[in-house]
Symmetry: C2
Subunit: 526 residues, 2 copies
């Protein structure tokens, strides 16, 4: 199926034509590979109604949203479906389920929204999916301390309206928002699009309960502590390998009454990076700060910018202010708060810095339009794959000093790896999480899919990208997590001793190695 | 020796007289208990000039600044002096020293500034003090990323002038500033007096090197990551039990060109707490926010407030604004930055909230006077003990919802424990670290010392205080750390599984258990 309109035109112009890629119907699932005794033992804990081996339930608990997952699913391959879906109703039941799994050597994969893009959900051995939606959604709100106790049934769309009814918000909006669970955010150390102002999920967790085969851990006392190493940090980002998060106590904020988003154009990506650095280091950050490189800016303007005479007018407007539209870098800035005057003050302080770096205002309409469309990315991917394109993203973070070099080297490494005689890939990036010492780098890659070996095509590009990231001493992942896809690079970042240290924790809490084996840590499953 | 002037008058009026407490000369140290072979093996790594068993060197590496330590030292007891002081010059030498310690079963106590107030330095078995001052002070500065690589020789007074020469500052100012090492800040999860604006030391660490008997760990890539659990968090707060921190890469900030400190008075501690909460939750925080309860306010006014006719005028000024000086709560607020207009904006936004809570301005002079005197506390303690008084502090943090109850119950528990027929203790507190969900509580206790059993007197009060803290689900320590004194309460905060998890890490990195045994974790020394 060809892509129509400006997107289709953009693809044909920059990448070339591709051949429609049909979605095969899912092959029938293999019968449940767990024994009758296994199923009975699990049912004795949660009730037989909550140990489900029916195909629709198993398919609904099959996840994974990376290109590799989508290629497999597109071919009808559902070998990563669980053999059974188990739904306990209390954290004690979770512990008992895990003990049975330990005794019987059953692999357990906690399943939240199924949105992992790094192979966090790609288990093909016999396994159960642990679905925790019976443990509750919003368990408690402390309106004095601004704390919400949230259960595993919570996703953004379910939680935010309940918080909004009390004038509160979590403010965590990653692209997986539509489906991802709040527990999944914590397990994968997620960062949302407003993380510059609202913080990463790590910054929001005050307390948590973790179920392990050895029992429950209740971690976190008060807003901050010096009581030894921060134990919560062991489980934030543990990706279901050290325990199962059964509730989290999260810092919430007043629902902003004032909200101002606007678009800005810089004469170059480098100028924008310099401005964002100065803003972060001057501690006058906006809540949302996002800067596209030249390639992503060209895409944005081609797909959703003005057309025809209006485009020419925009070009003249920018040129008069020293910006060549073809080399420009588009930025979105957003400020939110409950004190309107202070939102204005913060914006004014930010603009004092923006002006020093040649920024030109594009106004609020473009900013609001980004805010409304910011969660559409994942849905566009499906359409692009239908049309025969490889489409994938990867991300990292590094210090400001190496930022532009990393951007250049990473872009080149991916382009070189995917270039063929048939055509060029399109590689575009943005900076969307700003820190005083550095920033994230998020790259989107589109290329005509190699239909003979789509996995091999992508793995080659990914390998090249990771080499470039690791050799720059950048992190192997800023917010996607490790899963299976980044696990081979983790020893580079942690060192062997670091891997040994976390493995030692696993050996105490999950000695049989049944929790998400092969994710994050070396596989020690039976 | 009697205390003169306003302090003496205050003590006699509120606590009663006490009997001068002479400082006994230190008893001669016992001869070094390490074998000649031990010393030779260590000298083979670091050179014989850097394995020192002379008494002055050993005494200089004897630390501890809690009341229990001071009582012991006042009696001339130096049984906690190390048997030798070992000074390696590289991180590889540190690893080799630790391996020798492991092989030979020698207990190792890393020694920074010696300022632990929680029994972090109270080893009486044969042991070496590891002094790392040869590993360097300021190893590198990345002025683009605002990162400084700092070695173990760094203390605040040594580091800040070097940073200031480049227009930068760390901004971490705990009361131990004069002596504490930067590595010690990290090892104990320290928080400085400006932590509301500058963050805790945990927030400043981007990367670190840790030496263990198994080798070196190089942790931290870029400003932020989702590469599994944050491994740095395992070592921040590990108090020398999991490894020895040999360098840290810290976020630094531009030296503020604008600085405004001022004093404010609230009609009550409760009104001040409500204001501080609203400021934190409105995200318009000052960089320094400190609020004294009524008892601490009375002390501050008696010791450094106006006297005579000026005091009466202050009383009239406050009364006209609805504040009874005897029930008032004094606060210090400080804003710093490089953009003068934005400092003014932030102050104005803070004042909009302050006014809603009945705050009355006392002006900049009182604020600046606090800033200049803020590190004097530890020096006053010596004079009070000379005069025969028990003087000690303790601290915790909890959520806003339970804050005033904890303050009341903790104050009462300590007062009841220390009350005798001979007199009343003086118990006063302040809030000095503000978070959106809660705050710290720091309590100072002064009482006539029980000279027959000074340790028992304090331990009784401490036990009562900790019961009150633990039963409120507050943290056992907000910034003093665990050491030996809080270790018995750690299982309550972490749970047995939490202790097992960290002990598992220790068993991998320090299997012989020679690193700071008995601190933080259960003692597993040979």
């Amino acid at each position: 199926m060809a892509v129509e309109g400006p997107v289709g035109e953009f693809l044909r112009r920059h990448i070339g034509a591709a051949e429609a890629w049909p979605m095969e119907p899912a092959a029938p699932l293999s019968p449940c590979r767990l024994s009758a005794e296994d199923l009975e033992a699990l049912a004795a804990v949660v009730g037989s109604a909550h140990v489900d081996i029916e195909e629709p339930t198993r398919l609904a608990a099959t996840g994974g949203a990376s290109y590799l997952d989508w290629v497999r699913h597109r071919a009808g391959d559902r070998s990563d479906a669980p053999d059974a879906v188990v739904r306990p109703s209390t954290d004690d039941e979770v512990v008992r389920v895990l003990r049975i799994a330990e005794e019987r050597g059953i692999v357990v994969v906690p399943h939240g929204g199924g949105t992992s893009v790094v192979g966090g959900l790609r288990e093909t051995r016999p396994h159960v999916a642990l679905v925790l939606d019976r443990l509750g959604l919003l368990l408690n709100v402390d309106e004095v301390s601004h704390l919400a106790v949230v259960g595993p049934a919570a996703t953004g769309p379910r939680l935010e309206p309940l918080l909004a009814a009390r004038g509160l918000t979590l403010g965590h909006i990653p692209q997986s928002w539509a489906r991802a669970s709040i527990g999944g955010y914590v397990a994968t150390r997620s960062a949302g699009q407003a993380s510059t102002g609202y913080g990463r999920i790590d910054d929001m967790v005050e307390a948590m309960t973790v179920a392990t085969p050895r029992g429950l851990l209740h971690l976190g006392r008060g807003p901050s502590s010096a009581a030894g190493p921060d134990l919560r940090s062991l489980f934030i980002g543990s990706e279901g390998t050290l325990g199962v998060i059964t509730d989290v106590t999260l810092r919430v904020r007043p629902l902003p009454s004032e909200r101002r988003y606007e678009a800005v154009v810089f004469p170059s990506f480098a100028a924008g990076v310099a401005a964002f650095r100065a803003i972060a280091q001057g501690r006058v950050t906006a809540d949302v700060m996002r800067l596209s490189d030249e390639a992503e800016t060209r895409t944005s303007l081609a797909l959703s910018g003005p057309k025809g005479a209006a485009a020419a007018a925009l070009g003249r407007y920018l040129r008069a202010r020293g910006v060549d539209v073809g080399q420009s870098a588009l930025a979105i800035l957003g400020w939110e708060g409950t004190d309107g005057a202070y939102v204005v003050d913060r914006r004014r302080a930010t603009w004092r810095i923006l002006k020093d770096h040649g920024a030109v205002a594009l106004g609020r309409r473009a900013g609001e339009s980004w805010r409304r469309g910011r969660l559409d990315g994942p849905f566009l991917r499906d359409a692009l794959m239908d049309a025969g394109y490889l489409v994938e993203t990867l991300e990292t973070a590094c210090d400001w000093r190496g930022y532009l070099d990393l951007h250049e080297n990473l872009t080149r490494a991916i382009s070189d790896a995917l270039e063929t005689s048939a055509g060029q890939p399109y590689v575009m990036s943005h900076l969307s999480h700003v820190y005083e010492t550095g920033a994230s780098l998020y790259t989107t890659i589109i290329a005509a899919a190699d239909r003979g070996d789509p996995q091999g095509q992508w793995l080659g590009a990914k390998e090249a990208a990771m080499q470039s990231i690791v050799s720059a001493q950048a992190t192997v992942t800023h917010h996607h997590g490790v899963g299976r896809d980044h696990a081979p690079w983790l020893a580079d970042e942690w060192g062997v001793l670091g891997v040994d240290a976390i493995s030692a924790v696993k050996s105490v809490l999950d000695p049989a190695g049944v929790l998400n084996p092969g994710v994050l840590l070396p596989d020690t499953a039976p």
